[in-house]
Symmetry: C3
């Protein structure tokens, strides 16, 4: 892997997938969506981890600090159940929480199900890495990425990460004029 | 009271009602709404408490840990005034905060009054108990319960509580198919 | 300044404006909006401060505790970048955070740009002072004040501040009937 390559952490959080009782659908769904959405070359760094806060935190720290991922997306573990601890792990490793991501994802999911208010999905910044919690269900992953990704490339600019370009048929990234690099 | 009976804590938080200067309207309004909405047999466990954070926390702990209420609803004490401390008490006893409840209640109340943004209502989980803060005013209690209750029975399933069934003329509870118990 | 005069803190948070590399547009934009909106006599107490959390906190404490401002509005420093620390400073000095302000400001800004979810604007209460974070850009300042100001006079009543009256051509303040003072 070259130093300048764009890397994105793809984290599936699931006790059952970790024990092999259940096929990981969240990880592939996140990769598929990002493959369609990004024009910039990028490399997925996939991880599968149990619903244990300290293990999830360790994965985040490795992906952010060692692998230098500019973005980490997670699937699963954001509900109200006792074993759901992905948001706790995310908050614990982040310098800043961006409340708007969770609000926007719940708002969009409410168009589908009233139980969207049970989701504790959030996003935050750790140094030069944006971490976004997504749901476990593939169709809901896609709805949430559609909703928040227009703000992701500019967010990564602001934390001094790589300049990401999107396929505008899939997602139109917004940048203020002064931040746009056009040939 | 049988071990398997469903119990719901009904907590009015009010200095004035505690001193008898003011009739408690919030408690009866919450009970009336729940009587209309729930088909499942349930027992209210009513409490009246002053706007004192530690007293409110003690009431929550008793209702959750001793009385084994699966749900606690509160009325009052969620504004910006110095004596308003219900959200502080709720956060202090909860393992998890569910931001979506407060967002949804404020969003619905904004259709009535722009001062809805002053409300700090939240919901959280303490072990096997869901705690939901509601406003003090009876008509606003009803608006907020209408807005969030469709998600409540499935939330209580997820924290391993009793299977609540609703009167669908009043509120249509949502559960994903795998969580539905049909005869 | 008389003891009974209404004072409002106007805080521009900007490294560049502090170094003189950049004209402060946020401060004047906040003052202009408030001049149009308020009928009550008031006095701006303007401050310019670098993006340093402890310096911002010191400014808030002076404006709230010494100058007895009933309201402090800030411009800038609410994004995801490393130097953006206005919300951190606000939270640190406040007794209560009012989540509804941030939700409402992001919701309104989302009508203009999808990057509104990157804003961490919040509002909170320190004793008898309401602090509201606004964006850096003058047009966005105006959008946000239009959205939240209808709730501000009643909020200030609730924290025992002065009775603010607005120019209803600009902003219609809402108060419940029992809180209205009419001649």
């Amino acid at each position: 892997m070259s130093e300048t390559e764009v890397r994105i952490g793809i984290v599936t959080v699931s006790d059952r997938a970790t024990r092999g009782e259940y096929e990981d659908l969240g990880g592939p769904a996140m990769i598929d969506w990002l493959k369609r959405a990004l024009i910039t070359n990028w490399q997925p760094v996939p991880r599968l981890v149990a619903d244990e806060q300290h293990e999830i935190e360790a994965v985040f720290m490795e992906l952010a600090d060692v692998d230098r991922c500019c973005l980490i997306v997670t699937s699963g573990g954001t509900g109200p159940a006792r074993r759901d601890v992905t948001p706790e792990a995310t908050k614990a490793v982040c310098d800043k929480v961006l409340e708007g991501f969770g609000e926007q994802m719940r708002s969009v999911s409410l168009h589908h199900v009233p139980t969207a208010i049970l989701s504790r999905q959030l996003a935050g910044i750790r140094g030069g890495t944006l971490i976004i919690n997504l749901p476990g269900k593939p169709s809901a992953i896609s709805d949430c990425l559609d909703a928040v990704f227009p703000a992701v490339p500019y967010c990564i600019d602001l934390i001094e990460g790589p300049y990401l370009e999107t396929n505008e048929d899939i997602v139109v990234a917004f940048r203020p004029k002064h931040a746009q690099r056009r040939p």
